[in-house]
């Protein structure tokens, strides 16, 4: 049992399910029923297997774990190489967790070509899990691009009226971005001689080369994240995609961009990251403010949530490139929180869309009266999206803003306005949908949540509250890895004589043990540059930290008790 290739198993179980579905023959009704049953069974089984990853994963180690290594195409330095670290482990679980929910959510709403839909969904899961666990760059690229194929079909075949335009835009936009990434991968391969990402992580690329490579990777991941101004494919894709497509898109696929930004841009190309920090900050702040305003003006609720995704992912990119403990921690947490919250919001929209077949906000109203359960569920996720303390959204947004504030006060200031706008459009949406008079006859006729819907909302609610109240249970898994990334990042910058953006790692938001290792680090390292970079900032520490800490005593209390172990 101990030597089971659990990552490969998690990756290819859904494919086996898809093959089984392919073999289903018979009358259309029966085929649809069996396909759904097989999809649900395989995705649940995959989820259970993937829980094994979490069990086997050792959060105290920063390196790659559960590594599977097989020779594949030695002539090109390509291996079948898989493994996870703290950064990727949650994304794997997010993929396996959301897939069965998507199967349930599509149970009644997908009524044509069910067999092919379920196959696409399962293949999508394979690609996503494969992508997050690939440690060979070509394998990574294959899965990264492979994700496009099932998604293209899901939008194009089962989407709304504008599905073809949306599917095209989605595919071509992301493909061109990734081809540039492929060039960067090839360039890196020719320098290092292997596609092994672990070797590339340890290799220091020439600073001038890093700047070009960084841009190439950024092109791919900025489209995927998506960052302003490369976000224009997202609203179309979301609006036209079926509910399950939107859930997977917002829940996991956008995180591919964030994951790539951490793994390739921040971790492999520290000099490039330091060079373009300002660019990312500007793009993130514009995304946060501009897309929030755009969201405010939407009349289509799916489009509104889509734009809010862009804004929320703006916090992620901002946090990642603030390159300090709080920012990166916040970015990771924000991604996880967004996974659950945006997925849940799209599921919520799916609930009423299935009943009324319109996404126009104006067509609804007063639903708090006849759909009380639905109103409660929606409110919870709406508040999590806004970032109410006690929900998952708060921790991520707060930490990433704190990180940005330390890196650049103005960025922190502008980003915080996004919170207000976010609250504005979400509360407005809620008011229009749920309050007011219940007068439209078809809205009155809508039944409240049914059993199936409650089943798939229940775990999401639990996770959102769990993440808000006890964030350590999630952040503890990746703390060691992030710590390692930042140490590496700081060393690389110091070696180049650059001052790290924030030379004050001793934050109260990372577990005490880790904080010690970080602060102890400059002392042990013999590089004069490192000490030089750290020391001058130390006197500033109290003044910089006290005001930031004082008003936010509460969340600290949440995080601190667990810092002990």
């Amino acid at each position: 049992m101990a030597d089971w290739p659990i990552l490969s198993l998690t990756t290819f179980l859904p494919s086996i399910g898809a093959l089984l579905i392919l073999l289903v023959r018979g009358e259309e009704q029966a085929v649809a029923r069996n396909a759904k049953a097989i999809a649900l069974a395989t995705s649940l089984l995959t989820f259970i297997v993937s829980l094994g990853i979490l069990v086997k994963f050792d959060p105290s180690s920063a390196g790659f774990q559960l590594v599977e290594e097989h020779s594949w195409i030695p002539a090109l330095g390509i291996q079948y190489l898989r493994g996870i670290d703290g950064v990727s482990v949650w994304f794997v679980l997010a993929s396996t967790f959301l897939t069965p929910i998507c199967v349930l959510a599509s149970w009644d709403s997908i009524d044509k070509r069910v067999k092919q839909f379920m196959m696409s969904l399962l293949l999508l899961e394979t690609m996503l899990v494969g992508m997050f666990t690939a440690l060979d760059f070509i394998l990574f690229y294959i899965f990264f691009e492979g994700v496009l194929l099932p998604m293209f079909l899901m939008i194009g075949v089962w989407g709304g009226p504008g599905r073809i335009y949306a599917a095209y835009k989605f595919f071509i936009y992301t493909f061109i971005g990734s081809v540039l990434m492929l060039l960067a991968i090839v360039a890196m391969y020719l320098q290092v001689g292997t596609m092994d990402m672990r070797v590339m992580l340890d290799h220091t690329f020439d600073p001038s080369m890093q700047k070009i490579l960084w841009l190439a990777f950024f092109a791919a991941f900025a489209v995927k994240t998506p960052m302003w101004p490369f976000h224009t494919w997202l609203p179309f894709a979301h609006v036209e995609a079926p509910t399950a497509g939107s859930v997977m898109l917002a829940g996991v696929m956008l995180k591919m961009g964030g994951y790539g930004l951490i793994r390739a841009n921040l971790q492999m190309l520290p000099i490039g990251s330091a060079t373009y920090t300002t660019l990312v900050f500007v793009m993130s702040v514009v995304a946060i403010i501009y897309t929030s305003l755009v969201a405010l003006a939407q009349t289509d609720m799916k489009k509104m949530i889509a734009y809010s995704s862009v804004a929320h992912m703006g916090y992620v990119s901002m946090g990642i490139f603030s390159a300090n403990a709080q920012g990166l921690d916040g970015a990771m947490f924000q991604m996880l929180s967004h996974t659950v919250v945006s997925a849940a919001l799209f599921l919520c929209i799916g609930v009423v869309y299935n009943r009324l077949h319109t996404r126009e906000i104006a067509r609804y109203g007063g639903m708090a009266h006849n759909m009380p359960k639905y109103a409660v569920v929606f409110m919870l996720f709406m508040l999590a999206s806004v970032g109410l303390p006690g929900t998952s959204g708060f921790v991520g947004e707060f930490l990433s803003m704190l990180g940005a504030y330390e890196a650049n006060t103005w960025v922190g200031l502008f980003a915080s306005t996004g919170l207000v706008f976010g609250a504005a459009y979400m509360l407005l949406l809620y008011r229009k949908l749920f309050y007011g008079k219940l007068e439209k006859p078809d809205v009155i006729a809508m039944p409240d949540l049914n059993g199936k819907e409650i089943i798939y909302f229940a775990p999401l609610i639990a996770i959102v509250i769990m993440m808000g109240v006890y964030p350590k249970s999630f952040s503890g898994v990746y703390a060691a890895s992030l710590d390692h990334i930042l140490t590496h990042h700081r060393e690389a910058l110091a070696a180049e004589g650059l001052t790290p953006p924030v030379a004050n790692p001793a934050s109260s938001f990372i577990p005490a043990a880790n904080a010690e290792t970080i602060s102890a680090h400059p002392a042990t390292s013999e590089t004069p540059g490192t000490e030089h970079a750290v020391e001058p900032s130390n006197p500033e520490t109290p003044s910089a930290e006290t005001p930031a800490e004082a008003p936010h005593g509460e969340p600290k209390a949440d995080a601190n008790p667990d810092a002990g172990h």
Binding site: W72, I73, P74, L76, L149, V179, L180, V186
Partner: protein, 479 residues
Amino acid sequence: MQPVLTDLIPALPEIFLAVAALLLLMLGVFSGKNGTRLVSGLALVALVVTGVLLVRQEGYEVAFSGLFIADGFAVFSKLLILLGTGLSLIIAQNFIAREDMDRFEFPVLMVLATVGMMMMVSANDLLSLYVGLELQSLSLYVIASFRRDYAKSTEAGLKYFVLGALSSGMLLYGISLIYGFAGTTNFITIAQVLQAGPAPLGVIVGLVFVAAGLAFKISAVPFHMWTPDVYEGAPTPVTAFFAVAPKVAAICLFIRVLEGPFGSLLPQWRQVIEFCSVASMVVGSLAAIRQSNIKRLMAYSSIANIGYALVGVAAGTADGVQAVLIYMAIYLVMTVGTFAIIIGMRQKGKAVEEIADLAGLSKTNPMLALALAVFMFSMAGVPPAAGFFGKLLVFMAAWKAGLYPLSIIMALTSGISLFYYLKVCKVSWFDDVKEPLDRPTAGLSWVVTATALVVFPVALVIGTPVLDSAAAAAASLFH
């Protein structure tokens, strides 16, 4: 006599195939109209036997006073050519019977063209190059207009013939210049002459003419004008054949000429190749977008693909040659598969060739639509299909050789070309059925399934041995 035998043995596969073609011709003449199936079947057997003879060949041998060369590169290219011809012959079977092309000359001409192509890739002298090229071209002119009572087909044949004769003229003119200034037509001697001192201007001018003549054969821009018309006009199985075997042969010949005798002129010819490559990629990708006829679409797609392959040629290294060989192997498999689907496109027994006729294929025949999607995504270079690995190899070779702008243009044009490949997928997957297509015949389904399986999962498994043999083939050119 011993000397004669040493000459004959390296050329045994060609000799066998040529004799087989003549025997098949006799057989066809005596068996009359009903003999086509038999002749086709025996032609396939002859191709397989030739392949076996080729595989058993080994080493590096020069024969016929240096006119003919048999090396690893030639063997690899010839195997590709034989595979292309064989598969084209299989997918042609049903079509020629139904479209009144049921004449035994068809397989015989294909075999003769194959002999010409094999001669081309084994040429070690400008004269044997020309003879091989003409044997191939003359056979191709005839089969392009094989449906002689059909205006488009005769037009295609005539157009191909006139422009082909022009390019042959250019080629011959270039050869005469090279001969005049270098004093020899033998590849090995030319290489020695060019390495000994600075290249005479006449040789460079001659080389440009030779390159132009060969660029016509591979339909690289700006010598591509014939391609869409010939692809559209020729009977579909002939188009399939044109798209694979002669392309492989011509690009291998191109490589042999450029890397062999003119290897030391790399900086000079690289400019020409780079220009053709960029022009082909751009024109191929942009012009294909507006096509509504799937055969014309495939014509522009083949132009773009040749542009990608030329990127590998421009690298001028063993890596580049290996990349091109692999690229052409993958191109061959996916093109044959796509054409097998196109040949199978019939509505109520009548052949159709508009992209719109594929509408709703995923509902009427999901497996065929899946195979088509596999081919299209592979051509676009979307992983995990095999086409991605072909492009990756070319990328790597070009980047290693320092051709950065060329690699970036290649990346961007493959993004553009994605657009029209997606169009085919869109029509077959997203659109509603207007008029369902007939079920393809068993032979076609077999070829489609086999090629699709090779393009998607099998290529991932057999990658290493194929790469190794291509590397060995490329190395034999740079010994």
